[in-house]
Symmetry: C2
Subunit: 143 residues, 2 copies
């Protein structure tokens, strides 16, 4: 967290680069679940368990944590109806709706290119064995 004297000289490119704040925000939403939760909320409010079912694979705990994170960032609102049984709706804020474009772009890109990617992976993994002298051996395959 030390300021470390960021030098935003003229040479910096218009967008990414040094900027820490941007980094932190992206880190936040680029975690394992946030993008998906946001995507699920794209067409209107959802209840807790609705999300739980739809995001598929998320644990209750992680859904709670993710939602709280998003709420904290001002990306979703939480509305409680003190009925019995209780009901809580989560909805995207205006700020978050600006995210929806890029996020859905990612999702659609992923869907369109998933075959290409799995195939690239297969090819790459094969090349590791036959590639002999290139010797990208064991360890770094892990990822």
């Amino acid at each position: 967290m030390s300021p470390t004297h960021i030098d935003l000289t003229e040479t910096t490119k218009p967008t990414v680069d040094n900027c820490r704040a941007t980094r932190e925000i992206l880190d936040r939403i680029a975690d394992k679940w946030s993008l998906f939760v946001i995507a699920m909320l794209r067409d209107g409010p959802r209840r807790f368990n609705e999300l739980r079912r739809e995001v598929e694979g998320i644990s209750q705990r992680m859904l709670t944590l993710t939602l709280r994170g998003l709420e904290r960032d001002g990306l979703v609102t939480r509305t409680m109806y003190p009925t019995i049984p209780p009901r809580v709706d989560y909805e995207l804020t205006e700020v978050a709706k600006g995210l929806l474009g890029p996020v859905m772009g990612l999702v659609m890109w992923a869907e369109e290119n998933k075959e290409a990617i799995t195939q690239a992976q297969k090819q790459f993994d094969e090349g590791l064995e036959s590639g002999a002298s290139l010797a990208r051996t064991s360890f770094y395959q892990s990822r």
Copy 2:
């Protein structure tokens, strides 16, 4: 990897939902570094240490791992020039260039809304103390 019988019934929304493959791809690129590396490569090839400097904060190890992951996914190409000292260029593939739009969208969104977000966070955190009976107490603030 077990097929697990995904039920893409008609009721599923056009995009996200059950689809595991998409999930896996997004998990891959939505990690701590990939998005940034991709963003850095947006206007042409870069050398290893160029990236290292520009991504700022990334360790050598993580850069290597990230690049190999992206290479494996067929998102970047690796070109070695066996000069002395050696030189290695990384460049986005065509597939990856499709990602560039959404990714830069995210980055720009983050930049435009960073103040709003940090402020929302501050407000949220204050509300936790004064909010008394709401009692979102200790643990779940962590995130």
